[in-house]
């Protein structure tokens, strides 16, 4: 088991001189939990930054990823790289005695590669802290809200240790299966191409077995050859029929010309390619205007987060967390929304361009292959008809080839030498028609008989039909075979994925149960039930490889959970998920740092966070930072074994000045011991009494006047009266009732120290009076405090009693004699 004994920072973030955060007490080497109080900007976050950097394998502090910050912002600005070191050091408490003290030192020469005191030990630390053990206020709802289903799945895979299964699923889904499908599509495409050529050759709409048999029999019928009843008989007969081919030189020439003619006839220029290319080109030209933004696509998520964070800020003037410019808040929100909109559009445009180019590449490749075959046929014909010229087709082939090598290879920077225009395609078609005419004229010129010409044409047609049909049948057979094989592989793959998913679902169920438990401690909300992490199995790109949080809200299933939750509920759910992950995955490291996270909770829900820590993380070492003094004092009271510390101040030259903190009672007593600090003691006591009176009244449901405004709070006298009345109603003669009245007598003294007291009233209070007031107050506090569960009593409606959480402290009505005796004591 791993805990931390000491965190030391030097020359890092806001801390210049070496500064220790000691997590042990004298005489006890076992680390303890700690609560550190410090005002905002007093240096607390430097420790969290240091810890994040120390535990990051990538040596990064995420929130400093913005431009012009990054690693350059890690060392203290006054650090002289030649003399001073910037480092973070952790002294571990390791029950296995493997890890002791480790130091990560900033490397000014290579700022992304710090110097590690031991590479191996750091590797062990990175492995041990599966979940980062620090949680900042702004990160509470990060997992739930700021990640897509696929990202959540990857994160869970990483935390829960099923990364290799997740990678394998990914491999099957995005690498193996698409490759198999591509191959299958390729075979299917070839079969379709052959069928197209065959149907053009036969002059039919389709190229079925029946079509081939019918057209073949029709041709043979012209020569008084009886029809064949099946395709195989027809195919067998065609070679026999071809033997009728003329053997004279004229006949051979006619045959060759006819073969060339048929081959040329197969070629069909693409009518749609020029338009598709023009559209693609214009799409790319438009996109080039957005080129500067392309490099910024990666910051989309940063802007998203900035926007989410910004909505929580109350200042009117803020700095853009992405570009660093100072803005009025509203204008900054507008600026970020605009940037986000632009970048999202650029990203979508970029993806659309990539899809268009991929389609164009495949169309151009097909057209180029056809053009090459056409040129070969022209060459054959030219050997007989020397006047045949096919410059346009050569130009077309060169243009397609140039397009493939240049613009299609690099659309953003490449250029188009010869555009594929409709005019060019028309010229190629015209040239083809011209050549076909020349071939036909040549056939007439050599004066074969009409019968010879028809016979040569029919032999060539039937021979080509036979070849194309056999090729088509071959392709169809290969396709059927490949489809069956791929389907068999898909069946195996589906079975395997199903087994992997069952395993992952079982693991999700395990953590879901805990999330639900923690959420119910944080929020006793009966309308939210069955919180689960579920696999997204709906059809879609990432089905089975994406996860989401689902819950039942008013008995209706909702996924993703954030669709219906208020910010406050989301915060509680975020905390429940985080604490679950810590408990579930950081099994070896019982150490958590919470940086001001209670700010994300409603005031009345903050106690529940302490309940969660107490009930479920009692054996964990918690380091809690807060800037809320009232909350700080509450934690000291609730967890007496925690180390209380406070930041007295912050100086540029040194950083945070950490001191031992005491309870308010001890602080008041300390000040009272010094005659010059009576005012301070009185002021502290007044604040303490006022806040605790509020808390006690709330706890026992005392009726208090509604507070209309911030400047109109109930007075101390009202609070004393309300507390007394409620206590008397419920406990009759309990000594606490009398003690309230005794303490109330000192209210006029305490009133001298309220912040709105007249400064020149001339009233001075003797130290003895403040001391007596303090004594009476703490006596009263004791009546309400349970030393076992470290909590004040509360009113329990179901039992109609005033008692503490553990039930050991109870304010009950007692008999008058007994009450008198108690008071006398």
């Amino acid at each position: 088991m791993l805990k931390v004994k000491k965190i030391t920072l030097s020359g890092f973030r806001g801390i210049l001189k070496p500064q220790d955060l000691v997590l042990t007490v004298k005489g006890d080497s076992v680390p303890r939990s700690l609560v550190l109080y410090g005002l905002n900007s007093s240096g607390k976050t430097s420790f969290v930054d240091g810890l994040e950097w120390f535990l990051s394998k990538e040596n990064r502090i995420e929130w400093l990823k913005r431009q012009d910050a990054e690693e350059k912002a890690y060392p203290h600005q006054a650090v002289d790289p030649k003399k001073d070191e910037s480092f973070v050091e952790l002294e571990f408490y390791d029950t296995d005695k493997k890890l002791a003290t480790l130091r990560k030192t900033y490397n000014h020469k290579t700022i992304t590669k710090p110097v590690l005191s031991s590479e191996d030990d750091f590797e062990s630390v990175y492995k041990a802290f599966v979940i980062r053990p620090y949680l900042r206020y702004l990160e509470v709802i990060d997992f739930i809200y700021n990640h897509t289903g696929v990202e959540k799945y990857q994160k869970l895979a990483n935390w829960m240790g099923f990364e290799s299964e997740q990678e394998f699923q990914e491999k099957l889904a995005v690498r193996i299966l698409p490759e198999l499908k591509k191959k299958k599509d390729g075979i299917e495409g070839n079969a379709e191409l052959l069928e197209g050529q065959l149907s053009r050759l036969m002059g039919t709409l389709t190229a079925t077995e029946a079509d081939v048999l019918r057209v073949g029999n029709e041709i043979l019928g012209n020569y008084k050859i009886s029809s064949h009843s099946n395709i195989q008989a027809l195919l067998n007969h065609i070679p026999e029929f071809a033997k009728l081919r003329a053997t004279s030189s004229v006949g051979i020439t006619v045959d060759k010309l006819t073969q060339a003619e048929t081959g040329i006839g197969f070629f069909k220029e693409s009518d749609t390619l020029p338009d598709s290319l023009a559209q693609g080109q214009s799409q790319v030209e438009d996109f080039k205007k957005e080129k500067e933004k392309v490099g910024q696509i990666d910051v989309i998520s940063l802007y998203d987060q900035a926007l989410a964070a910004l909505t929580k800020r109350t200042e009117t003037s803020v700095q853009c967390p992405v570009c660093g410019t100072q803005w009025e808040k509203e204008k900054l929100v507008e600026h970020i929304q605009k940037e986000l909109g632009l970048l999202t559009k650029v990203k979508q445009d970029k993806e659309a361009i990539e899809r268009t180019i991929a389609t164009l590449k495949s169309s151009v490749r097909l057209e180029l292959d056809s053009a090459k075959k056409l040129l070969a046929k022209y060459e054959d014909a030219q050997k007989i008809v020397t006047s045949i010229s096919y410059e346009k087709t050569k130009e077309y082939q060169a243009a397609l080839s140039g397009l493939e090598d240049n613009w299609l290879a690099n659309p953003l920077t490449g250029s188009i030498a010869t555009p594929i225009t409709k005019e060019l395609v028309e010229r190629v078609t015209k040239e083809k028609e011209e050549i076909l005419k020349q071939i036909s004229a040549e056939k007439n010129k050599i004066q074969p008989s009409k019968e010879d010409i028809r016979l040569a044409g029919d032999i060539e047609k039937l021979s080509q039909m036979r070849t194309k049909w056999l090729e088509t049948v071959e392709q169809r057979a290969e396709l059927a075979f490949a489809t069956a094989q791929v389907d068999s592989f898909i069946a195996l793959s589906n079975k395997l994925i199903g087994l992997i998913q069952d395993n992952i679902k079982a693991r999700f169920n395990e953590i879901s149960e805990r999330i639900g438990k923690y959420f119910s401690i944080l929020r006793n909300d009966k309308d939210i039930k069955n919180i689960e992490i579920v696999l997204n199995e709906e059809k879609g790109k990432a089905a089975g490889r994406s996860a989401e949080i689902q819950l039942h809200y008013y008995d209706v299933s909702v996924k993703p959970a954030y669709k219906v939750l208020s910010e406050s509920l989301l915060n509680s759910l975020g905390l429940a998920v985080y604490f679950t992950c810590i408990k579930q995955f950081n099994t070896e490291c019982r150490f958590i740092v919470l940086d001001d996270i209670m700010n994300s909770l409603d005031i009345d829900k903050r106690d529940t966070l302490l309940d969660l820590i107490e009930k479920e993380f009692g054996d964990y070492q918690v380091v809690l930072f807060t800037h809320d003094y009232y909350w700080f004092q509450k934690i000291i009271r609730r967890f007496p074994t925690w180390i209380p510390k406070k930041i007295k101040g912050w100086k540029y030259e040194t950083g945070a000045m950490i001191d031992v903190a005491t309870t308010t009672q001890e602080e008041i007593e300390e000040n009272l011991a010094d005659a010059t600090k009576t005012e301070t003691a009185g002021w502290l006591l007044e604040r303490h009494v006022e806040s605790l009176l509020n808390e006690l009244c709330e706890n026992i449901w005392a009726e208090i006047r509604y507070r209309y405004t911030k400047n109109d709070p109930p007075s101390m006298e009202e609070l004393f009266n309300a507390l007394h009345k409620r206590l008397k109603d419920k406990t009759k003669n309990h000594p606490a009732v009398q003690q309230v009245l005794e303490t109330k007598k000192y209210e006029p003294i305490l009133r001298n120290f309220v912040s709105h007291a007249r400064s020149n009233s001339g009233t001075s209070v003797a130290p003895q009076e403040v001391k007596r007031a303090a004594e009476e107050w703490f006596k009263l506090e004791k009546e309400f405090w349970c030393g076992d569960c470290h909590q004040f009593v509360e009113y329990h409606q179901t039992k109609d009693s005033i008692e503490c959480e553990c039930g050991k402290k109870k304010l009950e009505a007692i008999a008058i004699e007994s009450a008198k005796a108690k008071v006398a004591q």
């Binding site: 290799s164 491999k171 193996i176 198999l180 075979f481 068999s488 195996l492």
Partner: protein
Amino acid sequence: MSSEIIKKHLDDLKKQKGFDSDFVDLLATANDANEDGRDTAAKILEVIKKRYVESKENNS
């Protein structure tokens, strides 16, 4: 990174009837060697091609 869970699943699938054992072996190798998906796909296609040639030979 190879997965012990996947290895076990593939062992079980190999024992079951109804799944192509050559494909199971290929996936097992892909898992053990942390093979790139495209390489695995190429091997699968090679097996399919070889089987097709054999089936043609057997039918002729």
